[in-house]
Symmetry: C2
Subunit: 311 residues, 2 copies
């Protein structure tokens, strides 16, 4: 009995179903954009996350996936698996979280399904509309620049704080914990800039995994020359005996957008970002290659995010 990892499982399904991009956002014809994302409480819900935050997070995942493609969410279906000891206040908390997300992200929840399950599972499937071809994960070309919507390292620091009582000063503690409990998908960035992307992905599986996904699926090399470490992450890592590089590249739970932009369009993209009030950071370059990612002169480990376990 071989233990299968997620990549292997995706490979089996992708092969049998003939879908190369099984886990990417799907575009049906030119207009409908479709994505589903499952939240499993035992791996995706850290200590201290309230019911409304859990419900909200299940929506955020899809909102973020669509944002990376420049697509506004339109309608969502929510399927719930709930343990039979779910209390009324918890269910009401979930419902409040969904209702809040409806307002926050302008998405309609149009239906759902409820079931008894061994642990809490929420699957959100979401539809949006596009006016043209959305960016895929395969379009990065040598000469493009690599851009991100924000800095990395807060969520893994936040997880260390929430789950393992890591030490952190007030402002950093708050910001890091918030990044885990109330993640902010980068809608403004994605909606304003997707038209400049040659490829894009949201970074919820971690920065390294996202970069490797773009590099390998596009058949290029990515060279990172400016590490997008969030303020205070280095200090936090030092004080807690952690590795800042690990937090930035292999953390995960970030809802940033990682994209490539043809050099010729970078100036326009930067101006569009300014107009939209969105930060845009150039962190590297796309070069000829075969799916590798380098940080400076060093090959980056192709390793995600290992889901944390609550118990």
């Amino acid at each position: 009995m071989t233990k299968l990892d997620e990549k292997e499982i995706i490979r089996i399904f992708a092969e049998k179903l003939g879908i190369a991009d099984l886990d990417d956002v799907a575009q049906l014809g030119r207009s409908i954009v479709f994505k589903a994302d499952m939240l499993v409480a035992s791996t995706d819900v850290p200590n201290g996350m309230e019911a409304w935050q859990v419900a909200r997070k299940s929506i955020v995942s899809c909102v973020s996936d669509l944002a990376a493609k420049g697509v506004k969410p339109h309608a969502a279906m929510i399927s719930l698996g709930m343990p039979n000891n779910c209390t009324r206040p918890y269910v009401e908390g979930l419902a409040r979280g969904f209702a809040g997300a409806v307002k926050e992200f302008g998405v309609k929840i149009v239906g759902g399904d409820t079931n008894e399950a061994n642990g809490l599972v929420i699957d959100c499937s979401m539809l949006g509309f596009a006016s043209g071809k959305i960016p895929t994960r395969t379009g990065a070309r040598p000469g493009d620049v690599v851009v991100v919507s924000g800095m990395f390292g807060f969520p893994p620091a936040g997880l260390a704080i929430l789950m393992r009582n890591a030490a952190a000063a007030g402002a950093f503690r708050k910001q890091a914990a918030e990044s885990v409990l109330v993640p902010k998908p980068r809608q403004r960035f994605g909606l304003a800039l997707a038209k400049y992307f040659s490829s894009s992905i949201d970074s919820s599986d971690g920065l390294a995994t996202s970069l490797y996904e773009l590099a390998s699926r596009s058949g290029v090399k990515i060279a990172i020359d400016s590490v997008p470490a969030a303020d205070g992450v280095e200090k936090f890592a030092q004080e807690n005996g952690l590795d800042a590089h690990e937090l930035v590249f292999h953390g995960g739970e970030e809802y940033e957008i990682v994209a490539t932009v043809p050099k010729s369009r970078l100036r326009q993209a930067m101006s569009a970002a300014r107009k939209a009030g969105a930060a845009l950071h150039v962190i590297g370059r796309v070069q000829r290659g075969a799916g590798d990612v380098f940080v400076g002169k060093k090959l980056l480990e192709n390793r995600g995010y290992v889901h944390f376990r609550i118990r």
Copy 2:
């Protein structure tokens, strides 16, 4: 800590989200039809069901929901939660089941999401296109007739055979077990007849629940005067000390369509059914009332289907 049942949970979500028909198929504008359905192995997968059948069943649920509205499936997303001891043959079996369902039902699987979970969970979300308003659960009117696409009782008999070793003769055993392991959604019936329906639902939660759902949501009374018991169910029930009425009305796992048709359109509907090669059975009438369902002179219990537990 009050234990909540599924109806209560749906009520809480429906209220907070302002969606009356939370668990019905949703129609976005005039053309897009959207539904999600979650399969939880611990409650939805009986003994003896193979991996490909499990995957197929997760697709059948949505295909059946859409069929009840006269809508062909177009595209589906599959979110999987899998226990970490899932073997390669099992995963390959699931993938084969999905691939088979793609061919069988003419639906494209366009993407998915994979996760580790405590038990197997598959959420299927599905899109189809409609050319006009699809039937809801609220349109039954006094004077309509109640129709079904087939007879009831096979799946609960099949479950009793598979799960509790109930005795049954060869042909009945095979048919009953098949109805559980390889359920047939009524696409032909739904696609040919939905235009005649004033209301409709698929019966996967059981005949009684489906009738009550139409009656209560439409604000009418339903009177059943011809009990749609499948051939051999009465005999099977007798031989196994079971109640045939229970199997027919409170069994569940049937993928039949239950609908109401205005009397003035019944003749056309019957002729359309004949042309399509679909059985259509008139089993009752819609009358003025307040959500009750009668079988003959007796009030039917408003009670589903209690999910069976494997362990």
